[in-house]
């Protein structure tokens, strides 16, 4: 590929203006990530015998993982958490909102603003708001609502911890789903819907055979983004349950946190993190494959 000196100069200049970003990312993201991977192969810890003398232990952390019941529990919890909130909760509510808000209704701006609100709330505030909703037994807001309908309340975060964090994360993420799905919906030209009307399709048929297939790329993209970012959720769950009771809501990011900062097993914590990374990568690859099939 012979390139003129002009082109080479341009390429160099472009690289130059990209380099500050490159530098920052390398220093503060890539290097820590690589270092984490390295850590996972050591027995580095902040207390105990290994603290003074960290050694390279190869795959021992990983084999420990495989036999660690708490690790598998954490994976299971994370799985339910992701499927419940991102794949089902946010998606369904987001899709419904996206479709309904395309119609000619009054108060559209109001509705969409309110639905976007939870996403705007910083994690810490979101955590507090839901503590107020869920903690305190009978005084919790949810309890009051439930009692209004004649049912008995309970200490929500104790009795239904996993369900509750799924609900809270769904609440937080409807906005993302709605935005992405709205963008996807808008790529379908309205004349296609009219042609379908002329062909005699009823609303359910239109949805199943036209809207959904044409939206597949967007839906897949959404699934990937939301699954991956849900795996990374930490603050929200920690504020509500700290991973309890008894590990019932110990999602993988909390498990990593507990291992690294409570048990101070840095090497082991890093190993778990690498597993989480690997899972995310697998999802990413699955997405790319699915997209190839699409087109």
């Amino acid at each position: 590929m012979v390139r003129s000196t002009y082109e080479k100069r341009v390429a160099r200049q472009l690289l130059l203006i990209l380099s500050p970003s490159l530098l920052l990312l390398l220093a503060f993201v890539i290097y820590p990530a690589v270092y984490s991977v390295y850590l996972s192969f050591t027995n580095e810890a902040l207390t105990g015998a290994a603290a003074l003398n960290p050694r390279f232990v190869g795959l021992r952390n990983y084999s420990r993982l495989l036999h660690d019941a708490k690790f598998w529990n954490s994976l299971l919890v994370t799985f339910f958490f992701v499927v419940g909130s991102a794949i089902i909760g946010q998606f369904v509510l987001g899709l419904i909102s996206a479709i309904l808000l395309r119609r000619d209704l009054a108060f559209k701006q109001l509705f969409s603003s309110i639905i976007l609100l939870p996403n705007a709330a910083p994690e810490v505030v979101a955590g507090f708001m839901w503590i107020s909703m869920l903690a305190g037994g009978e005084n919790a807001t949810l309890s009051r609502i439930v009692m209004f309908f004649g049912m008995t309340p309970t200490d929500w975060l104790q009795t239904f911890p996993l369900t509750m964090i799924i609900v809270v994360n769904t609440w937080r993420g409807i906005a993302t789903a709605m935005i992405l799905l709205t963008a996807g919906l808008s790529t379908i030209p309205s004349e296609v819907y009219e042609a379908a009307r002329m062909d005699g399709a009823n609303p359910s048929q239109i949805f199943r055979r036209i809207t959904l297939p044409l939206m597949m790329p967007t839906i897949l993209l959404y699934m990937l983004i939301s699954a991956v970012s849900t795996i990374a959720v930490f603050g929200l769950v920690y504020a509500l349950t700290r991973g309890g009771p008894g590990g019932a809501t110990e999602v993988i990011s909390i498990y990593i946190y507990n291992q690294s900062f409570t048990a101070f097993q840095l090497g082991y914590g890093a190993a778990v993190a690498v597993v989480a990374l690997a899972i995310s990568l697998v999802l990413g690859i699955a997405y790319v494959r699915a997209m190839k099939v699409q087109v």
Partner: protein, 304 residues
Amino acid sequence: MTDFALDKPGKSRRPDLLAYATLSLISAFCAVPFFWVLLASLDGNAQLFLSWPREWTLNNYVRVFAEEDGARWVFNSLFVVGSATLLVMVLAGLGGYALSRTRAWWKQPFLYAILLIRVLPPTALVVPLYKILLTLNNIEGNLVRIFVGGDTARAIMRWIGFIDGYLGLILVLATMQLPLALWIMKTFFDGLPRDYEEAAVMDGATMLQRIRRVLIPLALPGLAAAGLFAFISAWGDFLLPLILLSSPELQTLPLGLFRAFLRVNTIDYGFLAALAFIYLMPAVIAFGFARRFLVQTFSGGVKG
């Protein structure tokens, strides 16, 4: 507009009760948790659970600023996040342009790398990050102390230090927002025809001139979108300040909020709510502005 009320010819606009009901339910679900923050912040005797205030007062807000370091927290948050946002906008503006226009070999791998980065759970990065920053901080601290004595050095490090210093926090916050911002700007520039730049080249402009005088004005919508998203995301970040800051002068809003919640004696919920509301506001306002850009930005991404 797709209207699924299809059994009448033409566009029938019969009031769709089901749509209104569903949207109202979803909106209610989204809005209810916010009530507590609003009401408790105005309540003289606020509790953790939702209750209609018996005494309405603005005292909680006053206390945030008068008795506690509210003003300092607000300033720190605005300064740190604001600076980080500006930094992101500049770097992503330039970098996004480079990514869009380059045909170099490293383009594709870099783009994939950016996507992959977002996949890492932040808790995993925290410890190594801290180590790096500590090292950098020590080097820097030693350098500074060569020139100035103890107290002045401390004051200077407050600003340019990596641990417990504004610079470090700003840089790291900015770095975390770079992947998304670069992606947004790259997509944006992809959609911008090269005609404008080529005309400028014909007029004899250097790359820097082209960027400054032609591209930046054109790129403003993309920059605004990227900036708003970066701001919202950095504003909500509390893990990084938690890890990197310790001196009281540098505390940001989320930390103040967090600490208020950890009080040993009875938690002052009114105060908490007021603080939470103050913390909430900029994010909500930014979100309000960002709305316009949301669909545009993601449509581009969906297609590309």
